[in-house]
């Protein structure tokens, strides 16, 4: 599968478009072949009006859904399908035309998405081909009498399309003028993302190396948490590249990245509130390929590392204070021994002593060889421990000074 095709598949809109192309193909079959037969058998009604009306109804419904699920403008083109089918007898030419329209519409969607994301134009034809194949597959696999087969194929197709984009591949060549990324473990290049009309991250390039603790600072709304969510796979950027140890991981799911060693510890909604503290830690052993005894040992070690949690191990995590919940989140994140730890305000609400201890724990994680990126508002305790500090302002990385961003205007004098 070419990179363009993979990039196209990484877009949720494209995957939805393919799904609808497939369903559209199936609807063509149902409308033209099976439904008239069924109606003829049931009520003895037949004639050219039946396939025509059903063609209109079925394709119209499928393509309206296509329009809403994929891209609005695609619906205009796709709506030509019913025009081609309506009023014409189900001949091979009509079927082929309708299938081509489904494929063209899907390809048009892919092309539009790629243009918006400034992807190579080749993704458009690749998507069109995929879409045509999907429509043909739907035509063959979704006869009205075998809906169970259709359901099965839907599950397989959707899971295959969502898995396809998680496969890793050699990363594209990334410009690295400073040579900082030579030994990078995680590297994001020219990452951009917008929410509605607002550009939240604008061409951000960031490199994390093993054994370093990087402080990411910035004012409210500067894009810190968004950047961490992009790096951990929770958000797919509109543009840019993301690589882990030289492998392209753009479009990988958060769980796949977690298995590869990238863990996000977020201070917002940090725990599973109805599970006990111990069960929260057990969940964190999900990706450790070890025996049950070893997993229990990991949980005990985590509790020993944070003695505040030891006496609470049977309590529901939702009943802990905010600070205790964040400590628990940090303890859980460390169980999997991540290669890259992205910590988003994990010390918010902790007492000064607990905060210092948590930050020293993060320093220890970095010293053990992991890359740690920490987002904090309280910088007094963090900056002395950090190897580098990055400053985000208005979605742009404005400073990459090492080790202290003394010129960052938003940092209060007392924090510098």
């Amino acid at each position: 599968m070419s990179r363009e095709t993979r990039m196209a598949l990484a877009r949720p809109h494209v995957r939805r478009g393919l799904w609808w192309s497939w369903l559209g193909g199936g609807l063509v079959y149902s409308a033209l072949v099976e439904a008239p037969r069924a109606i003829d058998r049931a009520v003895g009604l037949s004639g050219p009006a039946v396939p025509a009306a059903l063609g209109w109804l079925a394709l119209g419904a499928g393509l309206i859904a296509y329009r809403l699920a994929a891209r609005p403008r695609a619906g205009v083109l796709a709506a030509l399908g019913p025009l081609a089918v309506g009023g014409i007898a189900p001949t091979p030419v009509v079927v082929a035309t309708a299938l081509c329209l489904c494929g063209l519409a899907g390809g048009w969607v892919v092309g539009a998405v790629c243009r918006e994301a400034q992807r190579p134009a080749a993704a458009g034809p690749a998507g069109a081909g995929l879409s045509l194949v999907a429509a043909a597959g739907g035509f063959l696999l979704i006869p009205l009498s075998s809906l169970w087969l259709a359901a099965l194929a839907t599950v397989i197709l959707s899971s295959a399309s969502s898995r396809a984009h998680t496969q890793t591949a050699p990363a594209p060549a990334i410009a690295d003028p400073d040579g900082i990324g030579v030994d990078a473990v995680l590297q994001g290049t020219a990452v951009s993302i917008s929410f509605a009309a607002r550009r939240v991250l604008d061409q951000i390039s960031i490199t994390l190396r093993p054994g370093e603790l990087v402080a990411l600072v910035g004012g409210n709304g500067s894009g810190k948490s968004t950047l961490l969510r992009v790096l951990s796979g929770h958000l797919l950027p509109d543009d840019g590249a993301l690589s882990l140890r030289g492998e392209n991981v753009l479009g990988s799911s958060p769980e796949d990245l977690a298995r590869l060693g990238v863990t996000l510890a977020s201070g917002a909604r940090p725990v599973f509130p109805d599970l006990t503290v111990r069960e929260n830690l057990q969940i964190a052993t999900w990706i450790t390929p070890s025996s049950r005894r070893e997993r229990v040992g990991s949980v005990e070690a985590a509790l020993a590392r944070f003695p505040e949690l030891t006496s609470l191990d049977r309590a529901a995590a939702g009943t802990l204070s905010g600070g205790e919940q964040r400590l628990l989140a940090l303890a859980a994140s460390l169980i999997g021994r991540p290669h890259v730890l992205l910590a988003d305000e994990v010390t918010l609400g902790l007492s000064p002593q607990a905060r210092r201890r948590a930050l020293h724990t993060l320093r220890g994680v970095a010293d053990s060889g992991a890359a740690v990126l920490v987002v904090e508002h309280e910088l007094r305790d963090l900056l002395p421990l950090a190897d580098r500090a990055l400053v985000l302002q208005g979605g742009k990385l404005v400073e990459t000074a090492e080790p202290l961003p003394a010129k960052a205007s938003f940092i209060p004098e007392v924090e510098r």
Binding site: S158, Q282, W286, G318, T319
Partner: protein
């Protein structure tokens, strides 16, 4: 009164079947945090399949049962992947609505399956020579198999919840983002959890056919739903074994009520009361626990459409439509005029639901029984003077919904929906047993249609205006975030009660309009199942919009006219699912988008 041991044994068997359904509700709630109303359907379709395989294809029961259980698991996975996983960013109440649509599809499938392959009723017995006489009942092999299979299934369910995958599924339900950050495969564990839910439901459904008999009606009925819902509510939708124990106790009590209490509806009333009391008497959680209980991967607050500044345009357009409709009504025959009047009454019912959702943040599954009780009060007071009927009906509706709101005060989440579902059965029974004397309210069908339509349009316009005023903003603020609203000086409990009261008042007027439309409502005309129809109308139109309720009603009433019984249920189910999956804002949002696009 002598309690016969055979009745207790029969009650235990039926209670065990309910225990499996209740355990499934608990499991689905713990892993997905919503009330899965399609749960019984997941079991009844495999039951029908086993019946078809045994009765028509000549399979052995022991060969067909595993196939049925596999179908249940597959249906569970399909439901999770095709519906619930797609609603990952929707409020939990929307998930419940989605499960309701799914339940209707499964009901249609259960009915259609035997008809599609020969039409022989899919009944069967368990081929095992067992017969135990306990006066006054005879326990057969199916009963004994239930006594063996259900505890085993419950143990397996409990083991699943404590297993790694079970814990993962619960984690995904509570905080999907965090779980995925820790490497939990959200899709796999959620689908596995629903496979287990579906398989457990299938075991219950397969055993239910020889024990309780097969019903061609499709939908499992209020009593079956309450037999599972009440124990699950007693267990707070959390404790599996408590739910199972409560189900067995309730099964025995239900059986005794059936035997000694005469009417089956008395048992339903009892179950409804138990479910409502279980939710109402549960002590309110502390602040942190309450927040924890509200936390899940799905947002709790349902979305509503923002108020716009172009109210005058939309209201003018609506009254234009009303004027055209009024002219058209004068040319209709009596039966068509009656249809329009009935549709307008249903539109008011759907409006009541939308008001409860938009202004109080609660989903009422009791709208139509409330309308029935209010109509009784209105019709009764109408004998003293026709002008008295509307205020009395409105006040009755408002009082009933406020009383329910007070019962579940400070409980949040799905508490009101559960209590309204339970109380709805009781109110529907009250409405069924009371003859509505509409002697003072009889008018010509065309006049009734005009009046009902005018009231529906006026009420919709009035609430659209209210939504945009300062009072409306206060109600919405209290509904969206009670803690912040309290900090701004708004009492969230009072605001919520006011919203529910307004919703109840409109439901009362809807009931009266219905009596005007049909003159002499049949017993059962205000049944609880009609509330689900109203929900479908409100969802298809767009729950967050008052005008959407009217549009949804018009659409589904037209569909009902064009389609006959079974197809109508199927259409309603598909409509609801399509609405929540593809048109989350319903017709109203689609229209708003079209208008916005046209303006651009």
């Amino acid at each position: 009164m002598e309690v016969l041991p055979g009745l207790i044994a029969l009650g235990v068997v039926q209670g065990m079947l309910s225990a499996l359904f209740a355990a499934g509700l608990v499991l689905a709630h713990r892993t997905h945090r919503f009330l899965n109303l399609s749960h019984a359907g997941l079991g009844l379709v495999p039951g029908a399949l086993v019946g078809v395989l045994v009765a028509q294809a000549g399979w052995s029961f022991w060969g067909a049962a595993p196939v049925g259980i596999a179908l249940g698991a597959a249906l569970g996975v399909a439901a999770e992947r095709a519906v619930f996983a797609r609603l990952a960013n929707a409020p939990r109440l929307i998930l419940m609505v989605g499960s309701l649509g799914l339940a209707q599809l499964l009901a249609a499938a259960q009915t259609a399956l035997p008809l599609a392959v020969g039409g022989i009723p899919p009944t069967y017995s368990v081929p095992w020579r067992v017969r135990i006489d306990i006066f006054p009942v005879v326990l057969t092999a199916a009963h004994v198999l239930t006594l063996i299979a259900v505890p085993i299934t419950l143990v397996l369910l409990a083991a699943f919840l404590r297993s790694r995958v079970g814990l993962g599924a619960q984690a995904v339900g509570q905080n999907s983002e965090r779980a995925r950050s820790l490497g939990v495969s959200a899709g796999v564990v959620s689908a596995t959890a629903f496979a287990v839910v579906g398989a457990a439901a299938a075991v219950a459904g397969i055993l239910a056919v020889p024990v309780l008999g097969y019903s061609l009606e499709g939908s499992p009925g209020v009593a079956v739903l309450l037999l599972a819902l009440a124990p699950a509510a007693v267990a707070g939708f959390r404790q599996l074994w408590l739910a199972a124990a409560a189900a067995i106790v309730l099964g025995v009590v239900y059986q005794l009520v059936l035997w000694y209490g005469g009417e089956a509806s008395n048992g339903t009333l009892l179950l409804g009361a138990v479910a409502a009391m279980a939710v109402a008497l549960r002590p309110p959680a502390g602040d942190r626990r309450e927040r924890a209980a509200r936390t899940s991967s799905w947002p709790a607050a349902p979305p509503i459409r923002p108020s716009t500044r172009r109210r005058s345009t939309s209201i003018g357009l609506a009254f234009g439509i009303f004027a055209v409709s009024a002219v058209a009504i004068t040319r209709l025959g009596p039966s068509d005029a009656q249809l329009v009047a009935t549709g307008a009454a249903l539109a008011l019912g759907a409006l009541s639901l939308a008001i409860g959702w938009c202004l109080a943040g609660e989903l009422s599954l009791i709208t139509w029984p409330v309308a029935g009780v209010a109509a009784i009060a209105g019709a009764w007071s109408g004998r003293a003077g026709v002008w008295l009927a509307p205020p009395v009906a409105a006040a009755t509706g408002a009082i009933v919904l406020c009383a329910l709101g007070l019962l579940v005060r400070r409980r949040g989440g799905l508490a009101f929906a559960v209590v309204s579902l339970a109380a709805g059965a009781g109110l529907a029974e009250v409405a069924r047993r009371t003859t509505i004397d509409a002697a003072g309210l009889e008018i010509a069908p065309s006049i009734a249609a005009l009046v009902a339509l005018a009231v529906a349009f006026s009420a919709t316009a009035a609430f659209s205006v209210l939504r945009g005023t300062a009072a409306g903003h206060r109600l919405v603020a209290a509904r969206d975030d009670g803690r912040r609203a309290r900090a701004l000086g708004i009492a969230p409990s009072q605001a919520r009660l006011l919203g529910l009261g307004l919703s109840g008042a409109v439901a009362g007027i809807a009931g009266l309009a219905y009596v005007l439309a049909v003159s002499h409502p049949a017993p059962g005309a205000f049944g609880a199942d009609r509330s689900l129809d109203l929900l479908a109308m409100a969802v298809v139109g767009g729950l967050g919009s008052f005008w959407g309720a009217a549009a949804g009603t018009a659409t589904l009433v037209a569909a009902r006219v064009l389609l006959d019984g079974g197809w109508a249920v199927l259409g309603s189910g598909i409509g609801m699912l399509a609405a929540v999956l593809f048109f989350p804002g319903g017709l109203a949002a689609a229209a708003a988008r079209a208008i916005e696009a046209a303006r651009r």
